[in-house]
Symmetry: C2
Subunit: 306 residues, 2 copies
């Protein structure tokens, strides 16, 4: 369940996607109401020749995996933190439910089927509207006492005397290098009114990378600032977890040919990693990693799935 | 082995300190030479009625715990990274040797005998000349692929567009809030020449906290900047590991009555932790935590110690 779209799929006993659909998020609706609406969509996706054994949800927020509750008060899907999600799955299908943070679910999907295959210590960072992150240590998701561990890469302070983030912290990565910070950052660049970006309907990293490639100096400065913020944050995260591999995901990876070498250069210059550095790979299962990750979590949690 | 002093102790089969001594570090000497000098000190500390079963060293640097080698090129004890430490212990006493990063060793000591007793998920941060850190997850030290994990709290970038640190990274915590950064930071404060600190022989946090308490506004500004840097770094680390408890150590803890409430306030205001926050405790075994930690590591690694 994203803020813009909901991707839904039926997976078989081998974790293969049988069929999938994409819906509008309608994230302005309250969580309980939206879930009731989804009942019809789920029933349509189900197939008569398959027995439904469980429902998994990957959700963009802090999730109490054990008690199956949404902890953070995400701006989308109002009242998500009070929704009885387990009760909903029980009432309609009498099946167990799992809910996990979307970055963690995507990481598990990449670990099993994508860029993380064969490695048990992984850091995944998703660059896009915001910045997501998740960590796998010795084949286990790092969750922490309050389910925050590894998930707050985007709210790491990299500018401790800087501006407040809307989360209450100061100088978060997202205040320097996320889509929602772009217009604010644009206006700090001298002569930004001369830039093609000033007239652009919406400001996205795609626009910025394109404009920069066409010689727009404002776009170039914005691009550089974002890449510096990402690099600093990624080096901090690499130092924190020292994983076997770094997986980079998110829409922005369309520009990976530019982004990955930049980050690699900064790691060489500024990190404490040995000269061999670290293997960086773009996420592979960008479309279905979260869905496949939830399936894998069912397999790890419920013996009836093995 | 510190940069200023070497603390040495004989511990019995219960992990109790039988006797201890403190020596000058003489950290300008090469590691191999200094180790040869220490042979006499160790033989003097040994007791005829005890059988020496192993030697443990807690060292301020990045340590390959498995291969018993110093990885980082620490400014003290030149050529420490090429020293054959195992060969030295074998040659003189025919006993096994363990070497671990000093922050990790201290954390294990605190876990077993001090502020971390009863908790298996701990973050320890040491504030002093620099800033050290170490992490225990589910009763295991977090080490990582290159033995960096959890140890680089002091070199986390909290000012990504700021000044270069002597480590090569930009805006490290240590460039904002460590003893060695104080004189540089002092000179950035307007009218610093009017401060009592300007005439002080050496600039230490102790001096600064004392001068601030006496109304010196420059000292107050320096103190505040350091506390803000520590708080931002600690919040980043709490988000990264989400531990059960935070242990604060280091000489600066003499001012814990001022520091801990400040950090707690910032955690309340700026972190994603629930309102219950996190338990923060000053380190207890400040004098011998590293020594006791090394003993515990022997117990965990060598069955003959059980």
């Amino acid at each position: 369940m994203g803020g813009t779209r909901i991707k839904m799929a039926l997976l078989d006993q081998h974790g293969e996607i049988v069929r999938a659909t994409i819906l509008d998020a309608k994230a302005h609706m309250s969580m309980e109401y939206r879930l009731e609406e989804l009942v019809a969509d789920i029933n349509q996706l189900k197939r008569a020749d398959y027995v439904l054994k469980g429902i998994g949800i990957a959700f963009p927020g802090i999730i109490d995996f054990k008690n199956k509750q949404i902890i953070s008060r995400y701006v989308k899907y109002p009242n998500a933190h009070t929704a009885d999600i387990c009760g909903w799955a029980e009432k309609h299908w009498q099946v167990p439910l799992l809910i996990e943070n979307d970055a963690r679910a995507a990481l598990v999907g990449e670990w099993q089927h994508g860029a993380g295959k064969g490695y048990n210590n992984l850091l995944m960072v998703t660059l896009g509207t915001g910045m997501g992150s998740a960590v796998l240590l010795e084949g286990h998701l790092l969750r922490g006492r309050n389910y925050l561990a590894g998930n707050l890469g985007g709210h790491m302070s990299i500018d401790f005397e800087g501006e407040f983030c809307n989360c209450g912290n100061k100088g978060c990565v997202e205040t320097a290098g996320s889509t929602w910070a772009l217009s604010k950052n644009l206006e700090k660049i001298p002569d930004y009114q001369d830039s093609s970006l000033f007239k652009a309907k919406d400001l996205s990293f795609k626009n910025i990378f394109t404009a920069a490639a066409q010689g727009d100096t404002t776009a170039e400065a914005l691009k550089l600032k974002s890449m510096e913020a990402w690099s600093a944050a990624i080096i901090n995260l690499l130092h924190a977890y020292d994983p076997d591999k770094l997986i980079l995901g998110g829409g922005i990876m369309e520009s990976k040919a530019e982004i990955i070498p930049f980050i690699e250069k900064r790691i060489r210059e500024r990190s404490w990693l040995p000269e061999t550095g670290i293997q960086i790979t773009a996420a592979v299962q960008t479309k279905y990693a979260g869905l496949q990750g939830m399936w894998q979590l069912f397999k790890m949690e419920h013996t009836s799935f093995n």
